[in-house]
Subunit: 256 residues, 4 copies
Amino acid sequence: MIVWKIFEKPRLKSPILVEGLPGIGNVGKVASEYFIEKLHAVKFAELYSDHYPYHVFVNEDDTVDLPRNEFYYHKAKRKGERDIIIITGDIQSMTPHGHYEIAKAMLDFSKDFGVKTIYTLGGFGVPALPKHPKVIGAVTFPELRAKYEKLGVKFESGERVGIIIGASGLLLGLGKLDDMEGLCLMGETLSRPMFTDAKAAKAVLIELSKLLKLKVDMKDLDDRSVEMDRAIAKAKEIEKSMMDKASGKDEFRYIG
Amino acid sequence: MIVWKIFEKPRLKSPILVEGLPGIGNVGKVASEYFIEKLHAVKFAELYSDHYPYHVFVNEDDTVDLPRNEFYYHKAKRKGERDIIIITGDIQSMTPHGHYEIAKAMLDFSKDFGVKTIYTLGGFGVPALPKHPKVIGAVTFPELRAKYEKLGVKFESGERVGIIIGASGLLLGLGKLDDMEGLCLMGETLSRPMFTDAKAAKAVLIELSKLLKLKVDMKDLDDRSVEMDRAIAKAKEIEKSMMDKASGKDEFRYIG
Amino acid sequence: MIVWKIFEKPRLKSPILVEGLPGIGNVGKVASEYFIEKLHAVKFAELYSDHYPYHVFVNEDDTVDLPRNEFYYHKAKRKGERDIIIITGDIQSMTPHGHYEIAKAMLDFSKDFGVKTIYTLGGFGVPALPKHPKVIGAVTFPELRAKYEKLGVKFESGERVGIIIGASGLLLGLGKLDDMEGLCLMGETLSRPMFTDAKAAKAVLIELSKLLKLKVDMKDLDDRSVEMDRAIAKAKEIEKSMMDKASGKDEFRYIG
Amino acid sequence: MIVWKIFEKPRLKSPILVEGLPGIGNVGKVASEYFIEKLHAVKFAELYSDHYPYHVFVNEDDTVDLPRNEFYYHKAKRKGERDIIIITGDIQSMTPHGHYEIAKAMLDFSKDFGVKTIYTLGGFGVPALPKHPKVIGAVTFPELRAKYEKLGVKFESGERVGIIIGASGLLLGLGKLDDMEGLCLMGETLSRPMFTDAKAAKAVLIELSKLLKLKVDMKDLDDRSVEMDRAIAKAKEIEKSMMDKASGKDEFRYIG
């Protein structure tokens, strides 16, 4: 089940799709949210699915919302810039095949707005937190490697990365079946649960901004690390407790 | 798979949907069942699903029944009252996506009877059993907070509640996508398995009765706590044993 | 996915559906297989499903077969007898919702042959193996209790049995939604994995034969207990090992 | 979800379908890959599915690919040879019912090219690594046992093999429902995770080549064992870590 809530149908000129969702170090999510904020990007659609957790979040103003992913757009303002669609959100699919269904729905939706190029943002785990996290790329076709190398992207993922899990991987993999241009930018981060890495997100955003020829003020991003850690730790605790119940680890089976 | 068994199609005037299903402290289930009994509400439909456990219950008279949720209606008797549809039952979905499918089916069914407002009843866990359990609300839209606050509902859920799991959450979350008015009333209860909290149910029912301008005699509710504890403990023991088999914890795989 | 393999479409006169599949003590399976053998019942259909395990069995003659359930028929030979359809097989669904889908498919198929009455056979666990296992019944409607009590069936299931799991339960539960007459005969057996209880099966068969006014020679059934124990122990060991792999308990993920 | 990527529609004369996918000892996968290489078989189709893991593989050239199974064809070059379709790939379904859906899709696809005969390749576990691994067969119909015995295939699977799991089993089992001729060739191998057995693969390939009247140079196969062990060990480590996350064993729930 995929349910779209569409607020606006913006006219965009072959926009680039940028995805940043929760994942290792929350690199993608932090990067996409900061990007949206600094660009004053406009939310135009939400995606709901029964592959997301079966609960509502209670917001600070005592209202509730289903888990969802959100679509924002940004229109090019200067020459050389490109129109952009940004995907962000609180969650990814809880089921393996849900990842496929949702990534496919995102691609179909994006193609209706003229998307032919996809950039996905994520982290990749290293044993110790690096002082200056490297960002490395992976692409959908061999010829793109040369193109993006010229634009400054480093390519060591073939040696260092085995697989890319979730939306960041599947959007590229499914996009490749439709001959779409795709790039994944991965920042080195610590492979530890409950850790949000604003530094890695910053490193990824710097690369992304260069590719998109956008100037993004990075100074608020460092401060953000501390407050996000707290919020995400709380959310994960709740989530984990729910998953334990769903998987029968907990004796308490009835929920509501 | 959703199967409806419909006994009657009552004509109702923009009824309010009230949901109380098994969950933490069984607050919602106890409240809805007691409410149905005291209002002499009439059962008019049953919902069956393959997301419910794959067994039948054996009743005291040696008959069997599939797990199900039940729909009752109550017609307004005095000025100021409203027609009501009440959902109760023994179980909730065993699968995550089943929660979505069933909540959606319940909403679609209810909308056919003119439902535009949903009240869901539940508990929220506190570390120690409170002498006088508080009841707090959560709503589908910000403007409803003010409306229900005037009617006496307390709102601290934004601070105290992270998520609302199952039907109580999803009916509001999915209803919100259809612009429905929704309120969840949650009573403080002990977050402990196998615990049925008639006191919290009473606190929730008092709030609900005020909102619905109904007088409900509460005196039988206190006695009920003890007997329900026993029955539910037995049911959960059986359920757990079945789940262990289904999840392969038990060596005994064949069932029948 | 349900796939039917139909060998013959026998003309039957409002046949009674008798189900005996693997379960506690394998009471149902042993009873139905012995019944088929002694009646010389004829196989006329097989049911295959992707809810069954994803393997083939290798038979003694080096051929392979998918897991399946089998349908046999027996035509009444004397006055007072009834036509009968018997369901037996090696497995039940591996997934909870598969139990529903398969039971529904079995009912729909049986109704095409005029089935209006269902007898399901099973065991119910007791702490110690009884010398003379009792057989108790459960029915789809209260009035059937009196009818079958007159025919000699004991009814203590309301007190002693909480739930009936799998096909034996769901065929009655789903049949009840279609107003079908249903009876479950359960023999007392030991609630222990890897145990096949020919004595309980015999007790159930004696009751069944009385109801169906059939004389079934029981003398081979006692001998059978020993050999079945061995075969089933082997099958379960294999099954368990496959389930461990499927559920990720085992490090060895690749299969084939 | 099954997605086909078809590069070519070769005209084949009642080709034999040969399947070799990952499994115990990776016997089937090693055999099919070596076979493809030595025959210079041509890839003409790829099968993608949401039953495969929800990630992309990062290749050595920094490009990404979804998990997939691949179809190659080989045209008969000499009299007595047969056209062949070979299935190979990195993975099998992650879900039980996905095994059925994928095997059925493979059969339907193959039948469009005239396939009526299926050979599946795999291993079967023995407690100690044999010096000269035996190869034994299983067939879809009893009369095939005699046919293949004359061609040199040994048949002890009825005694030694309980079940054949995954594609090697289901292609035969589902093919049998369509009256297809099927043979599984299983090589003795060590039942140990992370073990790739080129020796067993060689034994299976020798049998297969005899049946197909093809001469396949085996000398590179021995060298291959060592390098494959390393690559597969790495892949499994990654896979396992992903599965742990998916199954909630790991506290780190968010992926991306």
